[in-house]
Every structure is written in C-alpha cells, then in structure tokens.
Symmetry: C2
Subunit: 665 residues, 2 copies
C-alpha cells in the first residue's frame, strides 16, 4: 500500500542549512518559525504539524502548522533550554475535512447525500476506534447520529469537527525526510558588547608591566562604559627566539616584551600564565571580580607556538620540517613570521594534537572562562573546529566561541556553520551607505542569519582603518554608533579606540604606530576628547531597548542624502507578540540616523513609515542620545540635521509601530 | 589522515534539483553548465574538474572548471546521446600551483629561495612517480634542474607548469557527495508545435463519422501550417452508460457519440480502437503517413474508464465501492461525472493495475507512437508516474510525455520533476504584460527551467478563455503569436482555433458551445478569416530561426506603452558560441513586439539594447512576419505602431547582438 500511495509531499522546509548538515542557531527564549511546502495531487484537504523536542527529551511535541499561500505552511516553537533541539514536519490527508467540505457543496447544490452520510459514518467510526473514554463514546454517538434525521446537522457541527481533529486518521502521513537541528545558546551570544585590552598595558604607572590586579582595577572603567565582555589577548608565556621588537622590527632587545601571540617559552605554554601578569589565583580572582560587575573575561585561543614552546621539543611530530631540517615557521609569502610555528594538522600524530588543544580549552573553562575569541580559525582544518566545538559544548553548552576569520566570505560562513557562536565581519571596511545597506541586509535578511551571528568591530589591534586614520575622533564616534546600533553584538579595542588614537605606522596601512602587539603602552584614560561618555550612553540605550538587542528586524530607511544612513530596529521579534516586549505587547521601535560624514554637517529628509492613525496626527519622538524631543509627521518624511562637531547620530525612540516590510529574498 | 584533513569544500552545486533527488533535463546536443562553490581555509591554490558520463558508459570524463568570482567555479559538458547522464565535481589542493605562486612572491621580495627550490624538487619528484614514459623522464629532469643554477628558471617555466597539471597530486581531493542526473530527450521535447484535432470530426462530408483515413487526408493541411505533432484525443471505444449528450447534458440519444474520455465499452478498452475510426492497420498507416510529412501522432493517455470498460468486470478491485455497493464515479463536488470511473490507486491490487497501465503505453509504442499527452496526471499518485515514465523511458528514451495538469503550481512542477518531458502551463490565463513577464520569467530564468518545459496553449477543447471570447479573431491572432514566440513549444486545438470559433456555451464560462467533446462537428476549413496563413508563416519563421527554438534566452524589453509587449530571444545558448548558430558563430537575434490590445491600434517606444558600434550608426531590421524593413537606432529606443486590423505583431530579425543581461535571481 505504502508503495502505491504516498501522496503528501513535504519539501523546502525552512530554516534548513545545507540539507540539514548544519544546525541553525537560537538563544534561550527565542522562537523557531518553520515553513514548508506541503501539498498533494488531487482534491484532498491536508493537515500538518511541526514536531520538535530538546535533544535529551525523547518525547516529541507537536504544534499545528497553518497554510499561508501557494501550499506553504507555517508553525513555530520556542526554545527554552541551552543545548540542542530537533524539529521536523508531518502532514497527512485529512479525509474528514475533505468529506465535510464536499458535503457542504453537495447540500448547497441540493443533492441527495444519503450515501455520503454513510461514508461519514465510516470515517467517524474509525476515529472512535482510535479514541478512548469520553471522546470514543461521543464519536460512536456521532457516527450513529449521522444516519438519522439529524445526520446533516451532526455532520457539520463544530463539536464533531473538534472531536475528529483530536483523533485524526493521519491517512498516508508523510514525515519530512530529515530531523533538523537547533543550537541554543546563552542570550549573550546574540547581544554583547566586547572590550579588548592588553593586560600588560594596564599598569597605573608608566614603565611598569601590567598585571591581572591592574586589570581588576580597570574593571569599573570598563563596566561603567556598559560593556559585558572583557577580552584579553593571549596571557601566556612569550617566546624569545626571533622575538619582534617595537613596530614589528625583526631585532629586539632583552627588554622588549614580544608579541603575546608568540605563545610559549621556558615558563610554559597554553596552560600557563605569563609570569609578569600574575598567578592563576590572580587570574581566577579577576574572573570573579569581573563577573560581579556583569562582565565576563574572554580569552584568546591562538593555536600556534613560539619556537620556545614546550610542544616543540615534546611533540616535534606536530610541526612540519623543511628540507633543510628546520621547522617550518608561519608565512604568507613574502611575509615571514619566524617567531611563530603553525601546527601541522596533517601530522601523523594529529589525534594527540587535537586532544591536547581540546584540553587547553577545558583548562581555561575550569578556571571560570566561558567565552573565547579564536585567532585565525580559517588556517586550521574545518573538521578540527567542528569536532572541538562539538566536544566542548557537549559538556559546556554555555560556552561561546567568536571566530576571528577575516578571509573569503564563504570560508567565514563555513566556520559559523561548523559551530562558532559569533563571527567577526567586514564591518570595519564598509563605510558608504550603499555598502553598509548591502552587507547588513545580507547578514540579517538572508539565510546566513540562521547560523552566522555578526560581531561588528570598528577597530582591532590589527585594524586601524583608513576611515579612522582620516577622520579621527569624529570618525571614531560615528563608526562606534554604527557598530553598536547596527549590531546587537560589537566590540572595540581600547583604550586606543575611545581615546581616538588613529596614527598609523605607515600612512595608508592599517597597522597602529607603536602597536601594543609589540610593546607596552601607557594610556591616559582621562585625556580630553575621550569617547567614553558617548560609549556609556549608547550602551545604556542598548540595555534599555530590546529593539537593539537583536539584528533580525533591522531595516534601512530611505533618505534623500546619501551621507545620512537611517535604519530602524524593533522588538519583539515575530512571532512573539508579547514575549520580548516590555509588557502588554508594547512594541519597542528605535530609529537611528547616522551622519556618515566625519567632517561636515549633513541634513536631509528621512522616511519613517509608521502606522498612521486617522487624520495623520503628528507624534513626538525622543532622541535618546542627545536628550532632545522632536515632532514627526505620520505621513512620511521628516527633516534631520547632524553636525559631527556636536553629535554623530540621532537614536530615536519612536512610539509607533512601523508598517510591515515586504520580505527580502 | 583523512579524518584530520579534508580541507576542500564543495557546496551549492548547480544545477541540482531537490538535493539531486530529481534529474535536470536537456535535449541531445545541449550543454550542461555546472557551477559550484569550491574553497578551502588557508592560502592554498585549488584545482577543480567537472566529471560526467553517460549512464551506460562506465568511464568518467573530466573537464576543467574555472573560478569566476567569490569562490564560484564553472565548467560545462555537452550531452550527445539520448538517455541519462551523471555529473559531479572534484576539487583538490594544487600544491605545485601554490608553491609556484609563493616562489614568485619570494623572488620579487629578493629572498633566498634555496630551501623553497628543495621543496619544489620534492613536489616534482612525486609527480614523476605518478607519470609514465616521456612525462616521467621530463619531470625527473626538471626535479634535478630545480637545485641547479637554472633552478629558478625551471621552476617558473610554462613547460613545467603544463607537465605538473597533467599529473596533479590531487592532494586531499574532495568529491562532491552526490552524483547528479541529466535526462536527455529528443530535440522535439524542446521545440515543438502541436495541433490537436478530433478524428471523428475529420470527415470531408457533413454528418459522417470521421475515420483515420479522413485524418490522413487532413495531414497536408496540418503539415502545411508547419506543425510537427498531431495530437488526437482518445481513439478508443466509448462507454454507453450515463453517456453525455451534446453540450454535456445528462441525457443522450443512441445517436450521440459520447465523450472520447469515457473510455471502454463492449468493443474493448485502452488497447482497442473505436470501430468507427478504423482498424489498427488504418491507425498504423496514419502514423506512417504523418511521419512522412514530418508530423508525429500523439495519443492521449486518460487513465480512467467508462462503466462499460472491460476492466470494471474483470478487475472490480481496481475501483472503489461506495457504502451502497455502487462503484464510486468521478466527482469534483458538487459536479458528478457518472460516465467516468477513476481507478482506485489505493487498491490492494495496485501492482497489477500499474502493470496493466504500463502495458497500455507499451502497446501504443509498439504501434509507432512516441509522444503522449497525459490527461489529468495530478489525480493519480506521484509515485505511479515516476515509476511508469521511468519504466517506459528506460526501454524507449525517445518517448515524450506531456503533462496536462492544470492545478496548483507546486503540483505541476512536481509532476515535471517526476519525469514529464513537457507540461501545460497557465499561459491561457496570462493576458496582461506584467503577468506574462512575471510568469515567463519564472519559467525561463528560475531553476524551474531545469526540469519543467512549458508548452503554451491559447485554447484547448476545455479552455475557451474570456480573452478569446471577447476579442474574437484578432485576439486569437495575438494569442497565437504570443504562444508561438514566447514558447519554443506550443499547441492549438483546431480547427476551432484557426477558424476563430469563440462562442461559449454560457458567456463567461470557458466551455465551447457545441463542444466536440460531446458531438461531431463539421468544419469549413476554407471559411474566410482563417488564421491559417498567419500560423503557417509564424511556424516557418520558427523553423528558420534557432532563437525561437528554445526558451532560456527569453528576455523582456522595456516599452513605454503597457499594451505593447516586447521581448527578444537569441541563439545560440551559452556556452556554445558556435554550436547552434547558423555557422561562423553568427548570433540569431529575434525581437517580437505584440499588441496586447485586440481592438485598438497601439504605438509606442521599445528599448532594444543592441551592442553599439562606434558612432552609433543606425541599422536595418527586417519584420519577418509583415515583410517590411525598418531602420533602428543603435543607441536606445525605437518607435513601433501595430493595428490589430492589419497585424498582431512585429517579428524582427535584428542583425546585432544584444548587450548582456544582468542575471535574474
């Protein structure tokens, strides 16, 4: 029978990444909205359910799916627990629904329905056999009633329809051929503000090597600006062989501290601390002190070694030999990094290497770390990351990995599919309105958003963009507002960023002059012109407005001046009318207008398509960034003017829902 | 090792239908252009090949793929034989290419490359071991040369690059996880003009039942109009029980011939001929006479029976019983078709039913038929069609099935995926410019085109559209030109169509008055106003212009008058610069402008984006339909005027290639 008939087709289930090979991602409390093409030949009515379960709960839950248009069905479920969920779709021929629909047509045409009521009796009797107790009795009674004088009334009663819906025959039920997976993360994976700093530059007095205690003294500074992740570059012993001097020169003196990414020396490797930073107890104290301020410490996973790392002598097979017998150092020809050896992941001894690297991650998890920034993951095998992240998160589903891959787009997306919970982006190099719109639309409206969570950085220790070099403090301010409002997750490398340090090593190259990568810096945090108040204010607005805590509702607004970039975000995310709003189903709508010009004042008109009330009364909006109020028109365009000398942006709370957008893609 | 490293990723191979579940379609001589995302982490260069073979040839062929943009690669192969082909993609790390690229960078930076040349020696020596004969000797010589004074010159020589490309290491080669399938059909599957007629109405004298001999006498009429398929509604015995009378009335007299779709009577069923049409010899003679005129006979596969069909008594299990013991007739409530019993494909006895229906198809193939129009396939199980078409075409890969499903779009597409070689469309109901552009773009530019070959019919015996009813002869003329130029395959139901018979049974319904479905008609083929000359001329233009023999290059042109629909087709199809052109790589470009208004003259401007020569000289175009010549401007818009009283359209030969279009989707 099954071979002859399998008439319900279930296709094009979304979301689904690469035929279900990779999971989608959500955070706890979010919804998964599932759509599918479900159809059959012929004229039968269908019914369809979304099936889902947490992976450690063997009982499937079911929720009905509803037809939308053109044989597309939609349903949704909420993920409430960390870890993994599964979902799939089931549909079947709803013979009772078909029968009742046809019966109405026959009665309307005045036809004799005696035989049809007999067919109905068969359907209802079969349902009675599937049911128990009260339902079974009610169904048997209805089956009898169908062939009496009251038959037509019984047939079309809502009571019978409800009874039959509770005991469907699932005739020729088809289950979608795959079970699809969801990774459920902590909310931090979706909404985070990162601050990167070099601990060795944290000393309060110039000339001294900073310590974990100095970093602890800096925590209030960072927390008061409103960050919730404090990310430290590698904190391990640093190699001496081929150590680089200031500004990346080949020669160094014994006083030069070297690059923290040249990990490993006589003092130990990836599980040891640089002695001048402090002890493991100091580090654990820092982690605890940070946590008490709502901050978490993120560490850097840089899987490479200096020539002095203990691995080099203990596991020579983990490195590639050159024909002259030396070990292959890192290269990107013609650039050579003699102070760094990459691992040879093609080594015969790869299993031991993988296990050792996993133990490094577990070691720092055991010290209280839950967040890692991963250095250059694209230069290690894809399979390694999928394995490592799977192993670690199987035991610690609250751990978050940020992928630092600045490489080809498909490689960056691939790493995200393999398990990274957040990813660096090209944001730093997207300055014009059209390129920001194009890139952020790709990240927030295409299927990419199901697995790739962008983290927007205006700068890093390696990236001092032309835009920042040329625009100085006002450019830093506008790039900051863009990062923190376009992105629910963003980060800055400070104090260089908030102090608007923009002098390059060589004009037109992205390297900082006197980079902290190669020397200890002392920063005057109270220097005039610091962006600290702006940063604190924007981070407070982010915390208070759920609209800014996600990226999926991002939509760009039209302006008549290309130097003005305008966009809106609103909360809650569909389909949760009251789940994430601030009570009572209220919608949080934020409109941001940024002047992309760091030099000149720009003005123009912005289209804000709010739902209009009768008579189109004007309404008041509040600029949360500049503490001003404006009256805006319900019926279309509003005037804005922004002088970079005064402020980079408006961040407006708009007390009206926006008219729905036509879907992209 | 393999577990540790598998660094080449191959994804998003196109064309691929539903993860390779269904084949794409081509006709003999066409190209399959394959694209794939192929990439790796790190900095290695890649190489990539497209692998393909005819299914009965165990040797895979390989052809190189070329990178285009953003890690997308492209390659192509030509299908030369009927039946099935397979294709897939393989990529690997090209270590020699990476090495040579890096060597150039090192030399440009003035670095010492002694060790690098040693590494090169290892790579070349390994290639020598893979090679044989002369190549092996040359590679060994090159390996030696690399460590001599001439090493740098040898390393960068094109001779060594070619040798190494012939013996690649295929380091960590990845084969795409699926082999994808191509169905290769006869060219008729892509380019066909169908003429449908009722044989019983073919008698030369009124009042007589037409015969196969009468149809044979009509062949010149059909062939001279330029058709290449003559499709006959069912030619089998017709049931007497519940036989319908003229205009579908319930009661009939013994003289009424009944509907040919009520198949089966005392004289036999699907393998017998209606006695009044003639004998099997007559039928075979008709098939042969048609073939001599370049026409082939297509039969109708209507898998249903009249109550008098022998199956009803011989195989009662193939039909569904109602609770009152009667057999379930066909219904679409409240409509009842008591003269027709559907098969019960859920019957316990389904295997025998399927085999019997397959034997029906094979029977007519044995009589010389190679083309079938399938009646209402969507009311039978999907699995049945996939099985039936697979079985038949496994033995007879030249057979063509046309799906007559007018139902929901996804069901129509599904049937095409399952194997139908051509499909009816919604063309009959797409009258406005915007809806024709939208629908034909979906059919010709989206992945649908890989499996769904549209066949455009302006009318059928069941479909006399409002547009034809209201517009009469001029509407028929414009709908004909649209069908025959928008569609490489199209059909008409005649002689009703060419005689512009447009009187409905009831105004606003699509049924013909005095439909041939229920009665014999006598047609005066010489009636004034016949569209026969127009049809003959357009079919001749189609035969002479390869641009009109395919749909994939269809592109709509802008006009400033929405009542003027303009579009272009050009040949050859990419990537075949000289394969399908008319010699010397010449491009065939046809521009069609149709006046969608059957009543009023319309004029306006049409944009024809030809490749301009220096100085933008005007150029001459020839209206092949109206035998006129015009001078057009190279730099943009041209004026056209069309009076429906004179002609429905321009069909222009444009002696200039068009500027490439930006891809859709």
């Amino acid at each position: 029978m099954k071979e002859a008939n399998c008439p319900v087709v279930i296709e094009r289930v979304e979301p689904e990444i690469d035929r279900g090979r990779y999971p989608i991602k959500r955070v706890v409390g979010e919804w998964v909205v599932v759509e599918a093409d479900v159809f059959t030949g012929g004229h039968d009515e269908l019914a369809c359910v979304l099936r889902y379960r947490a992976i450690d709960d063997l009982n499937w839950q079911e929720t009905p799916m509803r037809p939308t248009v053109n044989d597309r069905w939609r349903g949704e479920f909420r993920v409430d627990r960390l870890g993994r969920y599964l979902y799939t779709v089931e549909g079947w021929l709803d013979r009772f629904h078909t029968w009742a629909r046809d019966l109405v047509r026959r009665l309307e045409a005045g036809q004799d329905v005696t035989v049809d009521l007999q067919i109905g009796t068969q359907l209802v009797t079969a349902a009675a056999e599937r049911a128990e107790g009260q339902d079974a009795r009610a169904l048997r009674e209805a089956a009898r009633s169908l062939t009496t004088k009251r038959g037509e009334r019984t047939a079309l009663s809502s009571g019978l329809a409800q009874l039959m819906a509770r005991h469907p025959g699932r005739c020729f039920a088809t289950r979608y051929e795959r079970e699809l997976e969801v990774i459920v993360d902590r909310p931090l994976a979706r909404f985070s503000a990162w601050y990167e700093m070099f601990p060795r530059s944290a000393a309060q007095a110039p000339g001294r090597h900073g310590t974990f205690n100095d970093v602890e003294a800096r925590l209030d500074y960072v927390a008061d600006m409103g960050f919730n992740v404090l990310y430290l570059p590698p904190i391990h012993p640093i190699g001496r062989s081929f150590r680089k001097g200031p500004n990346n020169v080949i020669k160094s003196t014994p006083e030069d501290p070297g690059s923290p990414w040249a990990i490993g020396g006589a003092e130990g490797g990836h599980k040891e601390l640089h002695p001048e930073l402090g002890t493991l107890d100091d580090f654990r104290a820092l982690v605890g002190a940070a946590r008490r301020r709502g901050l978490e410490i993120a560490l850097d996973l840089a899987f490479q070694v200096s020539p002095d790392h203990p691995y080099v002598t203990e596991h020579p097979s983990w490195f590639r030999a050159r024909p002259d017998g030396t070990i292959q150092y890192a290269e990107n020809p013609p650039k050579k990094y003699q102070d760094i050896y990459p691992f040879d992941f093609e080594s015969e001894d790869w299993r031991l290497l993988w296990q050792e690297l996993e133990s490094v991650v577990q070691f720092w998890i055991d010290q209280g770390v839950r967040t890692f920034r991963v250095d250059n993951p694209h230069t290690k095998p894809f399979a390694f990351w999928e394995w490592l992240i799977g192993e670690i998160r199987g035991r610690n589903p609250d751990v978050i990995f940020l992928s630092e891959a600045f490489t080809r787009p498909k490689v960056m997306y691939r790493l995200a599919k393999l398990g990274f919970n957040q990813s660096y982006t090209y944001f730093a190099w997207r300055n014009e309105g059209w390129e920001l719109r194009q890139y952020l639309t790709e990240l927030t409206k295409s299927p990419v958003r199901e697995y790739f969570r962008p983290n927007l950085w205006p700068n890093t220790p390696d990236i001092l963009t032309d835009a920042l070099q040329a625009g100085g403090r006002t450019a830093s301010a506008l790039r900051f507002v863009l990062a923190a409002t376009l992105g629910a997750s963003y980060g800055i490398y400070g104090p260089a960023f908030e102090l608007a340090e923009v002098t390059p090593l060589t004009p037109g190259r992205e390297e900082y002059l006197n980079s902290e990568k190669y020397q200890i810096r002392h920063w005057d945090l109270e220097r005039p012109g610091s962006l600290r108040p702006l940063i604190a204010k924007v981070n407070r607005i982010r915390r208070e407005h759920p609209a800014l805590q996600q990226d999926w509702t991002l939509r760009f607004l039209r302006t008549d001046n290309e130097r003005l970039l305008a966009f809106a975000k609103s909360s809650p995310l569909p389909p949760a009318p009251q789940e994430e709003g601030r009570g009572g189903g209220e919608v949080d709508v934020i409109v941001v207008v940024v002047n992309l010009d760091p030099t000149w004042a720009q003005s123009g008109w912005v289209e804000v398509p709010v739902v209009a009330r009768a008579g189109h009364p004007p309404y008041g909006v509040e600029d949360l960034l500049n503490d001003t109020r404006h009256t805006w028109r319900t019926d279309g365009w509003n005037y804005v003017a922004l002088d970079p000398a005064a402020t980079p942006a408006h961040i407006m709370r708009v007390p009206r829902p926006l008219v729905p957008e036509t879907p992209v893609g």
